[in-house]
């Protein structure tokens, strides 16, 4: 490279830099955000709204909006004037942040001078080739610098490069997420604007701890909202709204099962699709935090949701004994359908979500840990489960686990075709035993799974219908007691 070429290139680069950092129109900084509102959805999306002010002359200007999250979605940015203000006309928008990853930082220095290497092997030069080192062990693109003498040096091995110094970085790079607007400002003076955008990385979760006191008639409930900020930005004194959506609930439900994703039809779609993509993003429940929240990048903050020192709880035992094997499903006239059973009687705790007991608010779904406090004040973790959303006024149920000393057996004692392919009758015996040292009332849940048209033709115990194709018996068992329940169901189709 001869002298004139070098001079030309230096002039070109300097001109480019001047064009970018010495704009033809005025450069204006927007103020720090105020009145920040965060609507945090349960599927990793957050809608942010903040008030900013801009002081500038009327006419075109470059406006720099800083103090933004790195995970902002530039396509979602909206600007609106506050009441009575004139509209800011954004002609062009860029979202700049050079410290997000190394490649972007290097790209900013393409054509600029930098130093590569460590110790005595430092090479200075102009960056002319961007590396793609991540394709190890055979990187296709090396880092290439053009040295002042015109020679090119390629770094195929990142270990050789080791250390890259970016001279004058403070003036060249965007070291924080910045929105750059070329805008037309309608009037001189200070204007307030309402900035809205969508971002990733802010999430919330509800967490509950229930400590059962000895005797298990009362429990201490502590509900918390946890906010985690991985958005790459910080927020100060923000008003926070938490939103539950159908999509979030579907996603959360699927996390707990190993089953494949259910499919369903969307209106007008010819084929059923993944339920998570069809479920709506409309909020089904909103929770407003009643305090302002400051969240620095990377912070996790837990705030109170509900706290009751003496929550009355009742313990219920449920035997729902039927078990289906892998190969007999929905075959209403299969002789073997539903003849398998398990013997576990489950323990549930039930509480009322009312103002009388110190609650009376919509409890969002969340992770629940159940502890038992012992007579010696020690603490035992009984288990962890997901508490389904409990609406104000409803009752919540917590599954504790298998009941010690309670056992059920469910045997099919008869099966007959009353009218082949149209009418079938099936009889069951449910045997319950209590080897614990306490009285127990067991709710026996029976699902009439063969068909929706059924009739209980015989039963030697009282029962009630508790849902579609579901009946429930109750059996009181003394310590050491045994009891059997018999019933016959007739299906017609």
């Amino acid at each position: 490279m001869n002298c004139s070429c070098k001079l030309l290139s230096v002039v070109a680069i300097s001109t480019a830099a001047l064009l970018r950092f010495t704009p033809v129109c005025a450069a204006v900084d927007a103020s720090a955000p105020r009145q920040v509102t965060l609507q945090i959805y349960d599927n990793d999306l957050t809608l942010a709204s903040e008030l900013r002010s801009i002081t500038a002359q009327a006419g075109e200007a470059d406006i720099f909006v800083r103090q933004l999250p790195a995970r902002l979605d530039p396509a979602s940015v909206s600007v609106a004037p506050t009441a009575g203000g004139a509209a800011l006309d954004v002609l062009e928008q860029r979202f700049e942040y050079d410290l997000g990853d190394a490649r972007r930082l290097l790209k900013r220095y393409l054509g600029r001078s930098l130093s590569v290497g460590t110790g005595a092997s430092v090479r200075d030069g102009r960056l002319v080739g961007l590396p793609d080192w991540r394709e190890t062990p055979f990187p296709s693109d090396p880092l290439v610098i053009a040295q002042p003498d015109g020679g090119l040096v390629s770094f195929y091995n990142p270990a050789e490069a080791g250390r890259i110094a970016f001279p004058g970085a403070a003036k060249v790079i965007y070291d924080q997420p910045t929105l750059v607007w070329r805008a037309r400002i309608p009037a001189e003076g200070m204007q307030n604007i309402r900035l809205g955008y969508v971002m990733d990385g802010l999430s919330w979760q509800a967490v509950y701890d229930v400590v059962l006191e000895p005797g298990a008639r009362q429990a201490r409930l502590s509900g918390r909202i946890g906010l985690h900020n991985a958005s790459g930005g910080s927020f100060s004194n923000a008003t926070v709204m938490l939103l539950e959506t159908e999509r979030g609930r579907v996603g959360a439900a699927l996390e707990d099962t190993s089953e494949s994703v259910p499919h369903r039809y969307a209106y007008g779609a010819p084929q059923p699709r993944d339920e998570r993509t069809i479920a709506s993003l409309i909020a089904v429940q909103t929770h407003n935090l009643n305090q302002k929240v400051s969240l620095a990048d990377g912070d996790t903050v837990f705030l109170p949701l509900a706290s009751v020192a003496q929550l009355p709880v009742s313990r219920i035992y449920v035997y729902d004994g039927v078990r289906f094997d892998r190969f007999q499903r929905n075959r209403r006239n299969d002789w073997n359908y539903g003849v398998e059973y398990h013997t576990t009687v489950d323990t549930y705790l039930e509480f009322e979500n009312t103002g009388n007991v110190g609650l009376g608010l919509n409890l969002p779904p969340g992770r629940l840990r159940l502890y038992q406090r012992g007579e010696d004040d020690s603490l035992d973790l009984l288990g962890s489960d997901t508490l389904a959303a409990v609406e104000n006024g409803a009752s919540g149920q917590l599954r504790v686990g298998p009941a010690r000393g309670l056992r059920g057996e469910r045997e099919r004692t008869g099966y007959s075709e009353v009218r082949p392919l149209h009418e079938y009758e099936e009889s069951f015996e449910i045997r319950l035993s209590n080897t614990s040292d306490q009285d127990a009332t067991i709710r026996v849940v029976e699902h009439l799974y063969r068909w929706s048209e059924f009739e209980i033709v015989k039963a030697d115990a009282e029962y009630q219908s508790t849902g579609p194709q579901t009946i429930e018996f109750q059996a009181d068992l003394k310590p050491g007691g045994r009891k059997a329940i018999h019933y016959t169901v007739r299906y017609r189709w």
Binding site: I164, A165, A170, R220, F302, V339, L381, P402
Partner: protein, 431 residues
Amino acid sequence: MDRRTISHALPAALLICIAIGLFAAEDTRAPLRRDVLIGQGSAVFSEEYLVNFTRLEDTLYLDLPLEADPGSLFVGDSRGTIQWIETRWTASRPPAFDGVLELNEFGIPRAELAPPRGALQVECTLRADSTRPRTLYAIYQASNLSWRARYDMSIRGDISNQLEPLSLDLEARYYLSNGLARAISATRVYLRGPERLNSEAGSAPAGPGFLLLDTESPLADRWRPGRPPPEVPQRYTLSDPVTLAAGEVTAVRFASARRIPTDRVYVMNSEDIPIGSAPIWKPLTQILSFRNTARVGLGLPLPAGVAWISTGGSRTAFREEALLNHTSAGEAIRVNLGPATGVLGARRSYGRVEAASGFTEETIELKIQNNANSAIHVEIDERPPAPLAWDMVRSSHTYEMQDRLLHYELDIKPRSESIISYTIRVSEPAK
């Protein structure tokens, strides 16, 4: 400033410094007491702290392990007079960009490899109704802690000689594994574990003989190991405070007994013995059984664990490794010694016949041969060979039934054979 003033000022300054030091030391308070409940892979910490509440709103600074789960921490007092306001886990901030990018050998910036993560320091803001010191509890869960139990058993006496009485020495230890990057001192340690160890977890269904089964066929379910029923976890208490070193396994002895008298029991399990029209003789399983009572030096809940069984008073020969299930105080502990010598069993079916009552019936015979020179006690767990519904019609011996499994017990004289015969009524689909 004169010398006298300085002589007065120096102690005062010293006192102020000490006071500041004390105050600063209180920022991260050590717990007054710590209980730990260790499970398999995680633990629940229950700690007590003294908070002075010199003003109505105070902050409790906790120094928690990196492995603590932020969502699990909750703080309060036993009387419910403290209002918890906020808990903040502050992340460490990455250093500001100074114009230099340090790369690793893969070209990845070093800062990217060490992303900021939650610091150890946690701040809990609390509000009280009056200014006085209070004892608060903090409960949280952390991963990387686990435990297991191991038993060393040594059998005294000749196992093969039926006439020789056997006794057993037992030593049991907990192995507590602390995978945290810090040591743990706990006033009380509790352990939580399963009732039984599942040795067959993840094993593929085993087909009978040379028959290879498609695991996705309905037939395969016949040989697929059944899913174990859900368990009620058991809890064990260590008698003394324990300190667990960081990243190490600590062994704690919890039971030791010598010369425990044991009984031999022979078990015939229908799962192990094929059934057909002609008897196929198979050896019964020999079990050593002894009671977990204080009289023999035990009498405490024993957790499920691996037992190393050797023979001879000084553990001269290693015999086998066995799995022990949880044993409550007073219950029998059973040690499986494998196939017995000279005690055989067979099952025979006489086929299904149309009985006079109009039902289909099947008679099964269980034969047990005792070729030893002494009487033996046999337990039989028999599942009738009817995959469909069945009812017992008659049985030559009394039995107990649980989960459709028949349980017989009988004593067999030396060099003799016993036969159990039972008839079941088999339900078949209506035609």
